[in-house]
């Protein structure tokens, strides 16, 4: 009898180990084909910083997160202010924690809404395409909503709804990831046409 109970327990543990991402989340096809889902306690899981990526409604980040390890290289994109916008301390925002695995397309307003990016956080003028190398551990998930207060918009108009369709990647402290994130020289980036981000802005 005891032996049979142990057998069921073992089966339950195996099934639990085979379960998909938390909360029944299904990875988007481009990620599912290229990544392995990590569970808490597995090597690399803590380094992904899922606690930093997943935020409450209205706060940005992602609403739910899955930690994945890439099984092969993955191209990722990030919009940034451009090389002409260097802050007082000599920084641009070309590198940052938040990336997309889909190439940017459509208008800048649609992109801002899809990825819940407040006007004050990023001008979304230039496009960088980098590569996350196989073996890299990141958090992925659907974007969380952002409230007018989080954006600092007193009119109450600047708000972004949660978006289950366009998933985001969170790479904690990308500048310290060594060879995991490979970016070309800035000269490979392009200033995007705000009406269609997939193409460069026309020079007049």
């Amino acid at each position: 009898m005891m032996k049979r109970q142990m057998g069921w327990l073992a089966l339950a543990l195996v099934l639990a180990g085979c379960a998909g991402p938390r909360g029944g989340m299904t990875l988007p096809p481009p990620l599912a084909a290229r990544a392995v889902v990590l569970q808490p306690g597995e090597p690399g899981y803590d380094r992904a910083r899922i606690d930093a990526a997943v935020k409450a409604p209205g706060q940005g980040g992602v609403s739910e997160g899955v930690v994945i390890r890439l099984a092969e290289d993955l191209p990722v994109w990030r919009l940034w202010n451009g090389p002409g916008r260097v802050d007082a301390r000599g920084h641009t925002n070309r590198l940052g924690g938040w990336w997309s695995h889909d190439a940017p397309r459509g208008t800048v307003q649609a992109y801002r809404a899809a990825y819940e990016i407040c006007l004050g956080w990023n001008e979304l003028r230039w496009v960088a395409r980098c590569t996350l190398k196989a073996g890299t551990v990141v958090v992925v998930g659907p974007g969380q909503s952002v409230s007018p207060q989080t954006c600092g918009d007193g009119s109450g108009l600047e708000r972004y709804e949660a978006n289950a369709r366009d998933w985001q990647l969170y790479l904690d402290q990308p500048w310290s990831r060594g060879s995991e994130l490979v970016c070309p020289e800035e000269s490979a980036d392009y200033e995007a046409d705000p009406d269609e981000l997939s193409r460069p802005k026309r020079t007049s």
Partner: protein
């Protein structure tokens, strides 16, 4: 509330010299979120800041924050986050908060509480705004 949290600030305003001592353990820690009440001063966890220095000027506490990414040009320099008359420090494994302050500033953003105690005003490059405090701490630095 974080079970590891300590509340060395208590409810009463402390001399800033004492606060400087209480904040020493936070030196070297990194933070991805900077909030003035509910306002996210920077996109949460897009950049990362390391607490490098602490000093006081009169009733103003100044936290020197270093962008964790090396600068594109020139030597690394500190960004100054200042807090006028900070009260109610909480240090935890997640970060630090001050419950109240007379005024706060970082880069070109400033915030201060309204006289009614229920709202705060915000001044950014986009203009001014007014929001409910909703029980949130005046300053949140979170990992």
């Amino acid at each position: 509330m974080d079970k590891d949290a300590v509340h060395p600030g208590g409810d009463a305003a402390r001399p800033l010299e004492a606060l400087l001592g209480l904040l020493q353990p936070a030196l070297g820690r990194t933070f991805g979120e900077i909030r003035f009440w509910g306002f996210a001063v920077v996109r949460p966890n897009d950049r990362c800041w390391r607490l490098e220095s602490l000093r006081s000027e009169g009733q103003i506490l100044c936290l020197g924050l270093l962008d964790a990414e090396p600068p594109v040009t020139g030597p690394a320099t500190l960004a100054q986050l200042w807090i006028a008359r900070p009260v109610g420090l909480t240090l935890s494994s997640h970060g630090l908060t001050f419950e109240r302050a007379e005024r706060l500033g970082f880069d070109r953003t400033e915030a201060w509480p309204d006289g009614d105690g229920l709202h705060y005003q915000l001044c950014t490059t986009r203009g001014t705004a007014r929001f409910e405090i909703q029980g949130l701490p005046a300053l949140t630095l979170q990992a």
